[in-house]
């Protein structure tokens, strides 16, 4: 199988990730619960990974690196844990349901929402942010890149707006963590939410959030933390405040190795390989009859994603045929980004998404181009 569905989850992981998970499952106890060798091994791995991720995202305090099971959980904790009725929030039409659904849940409780739209070129209309701002605007919550098109949101532009208005800034880095260097400190991001299983090359079930010092979130879950046993409430200090119950230390051990691999290989080297494959694919199909591409390919700084449709075919048909005839794995349909599909006017058709990993090869991409050429020719 030629796996081109890496924006859903990266299938191929560095061998060190697999070895670390296996070793952890063979040797680890419960992190933070005891000091015997097995428990300490787990505690140390979790600690080392907090330190690594804090450095990776240019955070300040490893205690403010919170582990969750994915970006969605992190975003829920950030959104539901910070907003209250009467607050106004700015978000964008580029969002995944991992941002939209928690926001809609808060809207039902009295939070106001405003959406930054795309301009006539399909680019986020940054100029409209000022008009969307209100006196009760508490936060801006948005993705760093569309999971549908791979188009980036310019964090520098948002940073300027956030600093001018003193807003709480929550960023969904699901598609960009491990692809672009994100400097939380320099940009002034308050809460950065990430998942481990995509471009950080870790196992599914890993993820987290980095919270800037001084930002406090209400805990949404309660339970054992290994500390303050006789406190009837959750401990106030991070990370325990937000981490109830046993952590996925086995997965975190793998995540550590995924991030370490990116550091060894170089995030720029990995990204350039991925963007080169994306460009090869895009150039190979863009002028074929019936092919319609989505996204801003004029901008070279983007995620390695090409979303397309073929004639008026339902995207599910195209994706199914790519798999059943050519053994090529893609994603079709709605992509959990309802407002973006509306903005791109492809709600009825959905779209077929090709997303590339640096583990893919030029030969694989050439086969994908040839498959689309055949489907296009067949009409």
């Amino acid at each position: 199988m030629i796996y081109l569905d890496n924006a859903a989850t990266s299938q191929k992981k560095p061998k060190e990730v697999l070895e670390a998970v296996l070793h952890a499952m063979e040797s680890m106890g419960n992190a933070g619960r005891s000091t015997h060798e097995a428990a300490h091994s787990s505690t140390k791995t979790v600690f080392d990974t907090r330190v690594l991720l804090t450095e990776f995202f240019h955070g300040k305090n490893p205690s403010h690196c919170i582990f969750t099971k994915n970006s969605t959980e992190s975003l829920n904790m950030a959104i539901l844990g910070s907003l209250k009725p009467g607050d106004h929030v700015i978000t964008t039409v580029m969002e995944h349901n991992s941002v939209l659904r928690p926001l809609y849940a808060m809207e039902r409780q009295g939070v106001e929402l405003s959406f930054c739209a795309l301009d006539e070129h399909g680019i986020l209309d940054y100029a409209s942010l000022e008009k969307l701002w209100k006196k009760n605007t508490k936060a801006i919550v948005h993705t760093h890149a569309s999971n549908l098109t791979g188009d980036l949101v310019d964090l520098e532009k948002i940073s300027t707006f956030v600093k001018e208005k003193s807003l709480l800034w929550i960023v969904d880095a699901s598609q960009t963590a491990g692809v672009y260097d994100i400097d939380m400190e320099k940009l002034g991001i308050d809460i950065l939410c990430f998942t481990g299983h995509k471009s950080l090359l870790g196992p599914q079930g890993t993820g987290g959030m980095l919270i800037k010092e001084g930002i406090s979130l209400r805990s949404l879950s309660y339970g054992g933390t290994g500390v303050e046993t006789y406190n009837e409430d959750m401990p106030l200090e991070y990370p325990n405040h937000l981490e109830a119950g046993t952590l996925n230390a086995h997965g975190i051990a793998g995540l550590h190795e995924g991030v370490a691999y990116i550091q060894r290989e170089g995030i720029t080297t990995i990204r350039e390989k991925e963007l080169s494959l994306m460009e090869q694919f895009k150039k190979g199909i863009e002028s074929l009859p019936g092919v319609k591409l989505y996204g801003n390919f004029q901008e070279k700084k983007r995620c390695p994603i090409v979303s397309m449709n073929l004639y008026a075919y339902d995207s599910a048909m195209v994706s199914d045929e790519l798999f059943t005839r050519f053994n090529i794995a893609t994603r079709a349909g709605g992509h959990c980004a309802p407002l973006m599909h509306k903005a791109l006017n492809n709600v009825e058709q959905g779209c077929v998404r090709f997303s590339f990993s640096h583990f893919n090869t030029e030969e694989e991409v050439a086969k994908a181009v040839e498959a689309i050429r055949i489907l296009s020719e067949e009409g």
């Binding site: 073929l310 075919y313 339902d314 599910a316 349909g333």
Partner: protein
Amino acid sequence: MREKTLQCILSFHNTVDALQMEKLGKEKDLSGRLIPLPSVISAGCGLAWSTALENKESTLAACKEAGLEPSAVHEILF
């Protein structure tokens, strides 16, 4: 694209039910397979069961016997 034929496509309330359908198909030797949910049915994420139109009644009967309720039954070109 290959020629499309009229198919009986069953959509489900959730992925668990779709996988129950696949399991049922194997157990009962039903003809058909899981496909990505066509956008024409629903603009959402998901899986559906596709089988030739002539298998519609036998598939639905097997579902009924197993207590598996599709969210909808469609006849569409796929």
